[in-house]
C-alpha cells in the first residue's frame, strides 16, 4: 500500500476528486455493460419461449424462474 492511511488514500494527494471520478464512472460502465449483456440474453430467451408458447408447455427452466 502506497498510502499511510485511509484518509490519504481517499485524498490522493489532493487529486482525489479527479481520480475517484474517473474510477467510479469506469466501474459504473463496467457493471452496466455486464448486467446489460445478461439482461439481453434472458430477454431473448423469454421472448423465444413466449413464441414457442403452446408447443412446449412448461418450457421455462429453473435458471429463468424469478
Amino acid at each position: 500500500m502506497m498510502f499511510e492511511d485511509w484518509q490519504a488514500f481517499i485524498a490522493m494527494g489532493g487529486h482525489g476528486l479527479y481520480v475517484w471520478m474517473a474510477y467510479s464512472v469506469a466501474v459504473a460502465l463496467l457493471i452496466a455493460n455486464l448486467t446489460g449483456l445478461d439482461r439481453e440474453r434472458r430477454r431473448t430467451r423469454r421472448h423465444l419461449q413466449a413464441q414457442l408458447g403452446n408447443r412446449t408447455p412448461g418450457g421455462l427452466d429453473a435458471s429463468e424462474a424469478p
Binding site: 500500500m1 502506497m2 498510502f3 488514500f9 490522493m12 494527494g13 489532493g14 487529486h15 482525489g16 479527479y18 481520480v19 471520478m21 474517473a22 474510477y23 464512472v25 469506469a26 466501474v27 460502465l29 463496467l30 455493460n33 455486464l34 449483456l37 439481453e40 440474453r41 431473448t44 430467451r45 423465444l48 419461449q49 413464441q51 414457442l52 408447443r55 412446449t56 418450457g59 421455462l60 427452466d61
Partner: protein, 250 residues
C-alpha cells in the same frame, strides 16, 4: 479442422452459437477478475508519478478504454471488408451489434482523459492531435449508428455502414501517431513494440493487467451480442427453439 474449414464455419451463425457458449461466461469472469486486480493495484499499490503525483493513476482506466475504443473500430473495419467482399453473414452481425460498445469505450476514454487533463494540463479539454482524432472516432461511431437508423433496408444499411467503417479506419493511425506528428499536450505512448516502457514495472504491470482485462471484456461483449443477434435472426429455426426450450445447453 483445417484453417479453411474453420473460416467457413466461422461464417455459420449456428456453428458459432454452439461453439461460443462456454466462452462468453469465461471471458466475462476473466475480465472482472483482471480489471478488479488491475484497478486495485493501480489505485493503492503502484507508486505515484514523480511529476503528476496521484492523478497519474487515472492511466489505469484511461488507456484500456482508449485501446478498446480503437480496437473495436478496427474490428468494425475488418467486418466491413468481410461484408463488402465476401458477404459474410457474421460480419453483418458484428457491424450491427458492436457500435454501441465502441462508442461507450470512446466516451469513457474522452471522459477519463478530461478528468486527468484538469489537474495535469490545467484544462478539461484542448484540441490537440490526440484528443481531436479521438473525438472524430466518437463521431464515426455516432455516424455508423445514425446511418443504420436512416436506411430501412437491412442489406443496404449493412453495405453503407461497412463502407463508412472501412473508410473511417484511416483515423486509427492518425490517433496512434498524433502524439508524434503534433507535439502539443498529450503524452507519448506508454507501451511500444520496439522498446521497453519508460516507466518501471511497478507502474506498467497493473496497466498491462487492465489492458488484458479490457480485451476479455471486448471478447465477452462480442460473443454475447453475436449470440443474441443470431437467436433473433432465426427465431423459427429448430435448433433455436430447442435452445429456448432448455433442451440444448448452454
Amino acid at each position: 479442422m483445417t484453417l479453411k474449414q474453420f473460416w467457413h464455419r466461422l461464417g455459420s451463425p449456428k456453428w458459432f452459437f454452439h461453439m461460443s457458449g462456454p466462452w462468453q461466461g469465461a471471458f466475462a469472469v476473466l475480465a472482472v477478475l483482471l480489471l478488479l486486480t488491475g484497478m486495485t493495484w493501480g489505485l493503492a499499490f503502484a507508486p505515484p508519478d514523480y511529476q503528476q503525483g496521484n492523478s497519474f493513476r487515472i492511466i489505469y482506466v484511461h488507456v484500456p478504454a482508449a485501446v478498446l475504443a480503437q480496437s473495436v473500430y478496427l474490428t468494425l473495419g475488418v467486418a466491413g471488408v468481410l461484408l463488402l467482399v465476401w458477404r459474410m453473414k457474421m460480419a453483418q452481425l458484428v457491424l450491427e451489434n458492436l457500435v454501441g460498445f465502441g462508442a461507450w469505450m470512446t466516451a469513457l476514454a474522452l471522459f477519463t482523459g478530461a478528468v486527468w487533463g484538469k489537474p495535469t494540463w490545467g484544462t478539461w479539454w484542448v484540441f490537440d492531435g490526440r484528443t481531436t482524432s479521438t473525438l472524430v472516432l466518437l463521431f464515426l461511431y455516432f455516424g455508423l449508428y445514425a446511418l443504420r437508423q436512416a436506411i430501412p433496408s437491412r442489406e443496404a444499411a449493412g453495405r453503407a455502414c461497412a463502407l463508412l467503417a472501412v473508410v473511417g479506419v484511416i483515423n486509427i493511425p492518425v490517433i496512434k501517431y498524433s502524439v508524434e506528428w503534433w507535439t502539443t499536450l498529450h503524452q507519448g505512448a506508454t507501451f511500444k513494440l520496439t522498446e521497453a516502457p519508460a516507466m518501471p514495472a511497478s507502474m506498467w504491470a497493473p496497466l498491462l493487467v487492465n489492458v488484458l482485462g479490457a480485451y476479455c471484456l471486448f471478447a465477452a461483449n462480442l460473443i454475447a451480442k453475436l449470440r443474441t443477434a443470431i437467436l433473433r435472426q432465426e427465431p423459427g429455426a429448430a435448433w433455436v427453439r430447442d435452445w429456448a426450450a432448455g433442451e440444448v445447453r448452454p
